[in-house]
């Protein structure tokens, strides 16, 4: 017989009270785990969507001239003598320290051209990279793949009177309109998109790049540092982060997360209060029993050990069940909370936190009741003596 046998037997044979105590902590910890898992999944979901949402770093040549613009980003003035980026140097982007965070690199050659008597903005792209970046693009016709294929913005198609399947002559070369973009509401609506090499040749810009859009996978990647790392490699370029969208989305998640923490703190407080009240009640109920322990020679420290050990076991039980239950609840709730969302998976560090929280809260809530129990006057506790 050791002191822990007393604690274990008390919990084992007073199952009703133990279930009540454990359930108090279980509810609190399960709530925290559920909220954490849901916000984690939400955060991942948003980040994944953002990763599919296009570029978040843009690199363009430095220029003080007037310029045409694309995507709200100022690019080197295509109508003036400007410096361009060297296409052959682009692979260097993948040599930065955070290269593992780089997803798509989509170079562009921009310039104006006269088509059917109208000046339009011509954009040469690497079709494969561009479509990987612009996942929201929708079009009619066939996805362009060949050097002679063109993708027309909806507005450009209207102005030029061109449709899918038409042939268009630009700078004396024939091109085939393989697709027309459905209206995007962005700069693409008014431009003609062609193959990078073909457009470079048309514009006499072989090996030159006007703009590079880079998609970084941003889960925990330091966009600002990546911008600096790229800028260091390309001192002639202006590298900027398009992180407003990301930031505002992440701010929303952060707000939800803060709110979740608030709710979790409240639930945990109520759970701890429940443990405190139950433990206080238990001490009052066990006054005689504690009197017996004291009478047969248990020290005050022994009484505290018995009660705190019970609290620790209850806390451990609440922590384990709360972690399991919280993850189960999150897995069940996420499809309802996040559209097409998936459970982010079990986070074992949250498991460690749940156990630590369960045990420490239970101990904290039981500290005063245990102290009070240990201070019971044995003769008062055993009035019959």
């Amino acid at each position: 017989m050791k002191l822990y046998n007393i604690s274990m037997n008390n919990l084992r044979r007073r199952t009703g009270k133990m279930i009540f105590l454990v359930s108090g902590l279980f509810i609190g910890i399960a709530t925290i785990v559920t909220l954490l898992a849901i916000t984690e999944s939400m955060s991942r979901d948003v980040e994944e969507r953002l990763n599919q949402f296009g570029a978040n770093i843009v690199m363009a040549p430095r220029s003080e001239n007037l310029s045409l613009s694309y995507g709200g980003v100022t690019v080197g003035g295509v109508q003036y003598e400007v410096q361009e980026l060297e296409e052959r140097r682009l692979p260097e982007i993948r040599t930065i320290a955070n290269s593992q965070n780089i997803g798509v690199i989509a170079p562009k050659a921009l310039g104006s051209a006269v088509v059917k008597g109208k000046t339009v903005l011509l954009m040469g792209v690497d079709f494969e990279q561009e479509f990987a970046l612009k996942t929201w693009w929708q079009w009619q016709g066939e996805q362009p793949r060949n050097p002679q294929d063109l993708l027309l913005g909806s507005e450009a198609a209207k102005v030029l009177g061109a449709a899918v399947g038409d042939n268009i002559s630009i700078g004396g070369r024939d091109f085939h309109v393989s697709a027309v973009l459905t209206p995007t509401g962005a700069s693409e609506d008014g431009i003609i998109v062609g193959d990078l090499k073909a457009v470079q040749a048309l514009l006499n810009k072989e090996g030159k790049i006007s703009l590079v859009e880079i998609a970084a996978f941003c889960r925990g990647c330091p966009i600002n540092e990546m911008v600096l790392q790229i800028a260091e490699k390309f001192p002639e370029a202006k590298v900027s982060a398009l992180k407003q969208v990301l930031m505002s989305k992440m701010q929303s998640i952060d707000m939800i997360r803060t709110f979740s923490y608030g709710i979790a703190a409240l639930v945990i407080f109520v759970g701890s209060l429940m443990v405190f009240v139950t433990m206080m009640g238990s001490v009052a109920e066990r006054t005689r029993e504690i009197g017996i322990f004291r009478a047969i020679g248990f020290r005050q420290g022994h009484i505290m050990q018995i009660i705190l050990l019970e609290a620790a076991i209850v806390g451990l039980g609440g922590g384990i069940l709360g972690f399991v239950g919280g993850n189960a609840a999150a897995a069940a709730a996420i499809p309802a909370v996040i559209d097409q969302g998936a459970f982010a998976g079990i986070n074992y560090s949250v498991g460690g936190l749940a156990l630590l929280l369960g045990v420490s809260l239970s101990l904290l809530a039981s500290l005063y009741p245990a102290y009070k129990a240990s201070r019971l006057d044995p003769s008062e506790a055993l009035r019959t003596l």
Partner: protein, 228 residues
């Protein structure tokens, strides 16, 4: 134990115990001087409220007197710190409480092993000692039962087994036969008498003159003083 202290093993000198304070103070013990030798079987008799149970709790180191000294084996037990006094109780005193006071969620064996939970004895040794005393009190077959599965007499035996398992030199019993029928009371008293013959000093509070007659000496208490 000190052989030189075999005489006056327990000594209560000018002890008084008041409950409450000021005008509302009530004296449970006015003044008592008691000497008990090692190996004595002393019955304490007196009407309800006479202070006999208070005397027992003072003797057992559970209830600090308002005045006077209590010496056990020449140890001034109320000169000790509360934690040292707990150690004293563990080493010197076995209690048999009125209404048995068994721990309801522990089995018979566990209840008996309870005083050994703080001794550092190995579980195997604890089991041997506990089973030996349970055999002695005739409960060897019921070691796995919970207290509420036992009769009053059986619970009293468990209480006795728990009180003596640590082999303390002093046994303090508060109305050990108070809740028992006469046959069971006889069995319990036979057990206590046998334990006393083996050298255990017993101080027993009782209302029952027949039970008190089995003791080697009777101390009569009335209104907080010893009257004989």
């Amino acid at each position: 134990m000190n052989d030189a202290m075999a005489q006056n093993f327990i000594e209560i000198k000018n002890v008084g115990k008041d409950y409450g304070s000021g005008d509302r103070s009530v004296a449970a013990i006015r003044r008592m001087d008691v000497r008990i030798d090692d190996g004595e079987f002393v019955a304490v008799m007196g009407p309800s409220g006479s202070g006999k149970s208070t005397l027992l709790s003072v003797l057992g180191g559970l209830n600090k007197p308002s005045r006077g000294d209590v010496l056990v084996d020449s140890l001034d037990i109320y000169g000790l710190t509360p934690e040292q006094r707990a150690d004293f109780r563990s080493e010197y005193v076995g209690f048999i409480f009125q209404s048995y006071q068994l721990v309801p969620y522990l089995t018979v064996l566990e209840n008996v092993k309870l005083p050994m939970a703080i001794t550092g004895l190995k579980n195997r040794v604890q089991d041997e000692m506990a089973l030996a005393v349970l055999e002695r009190v005739g409960l060897g077959e019921k070691v796995s039962r919970l207290p509420d599965q036992l009769s009053g007499g059986e619970q009293e035996r468990v209480a006795i087994a728990r009180a003596i398992v640590n082999r303390p030199p002093i046994l303090l019993a508060d109305e050990p036969t108070g809740n028992l029928d006469s046959d069971t009371a006889d069995e319990i008293m036979n057990l206590l008498t046998a334990l006393n013959r083996e050298g255990l000093t017993i101080i027993m509070v009782t209302h029952n003159a027949e039970v008190a007659a089995l003791a080697s000496r009777t101390i009569r208490v009335k209104d907080g003083v010893c009257i004989g």
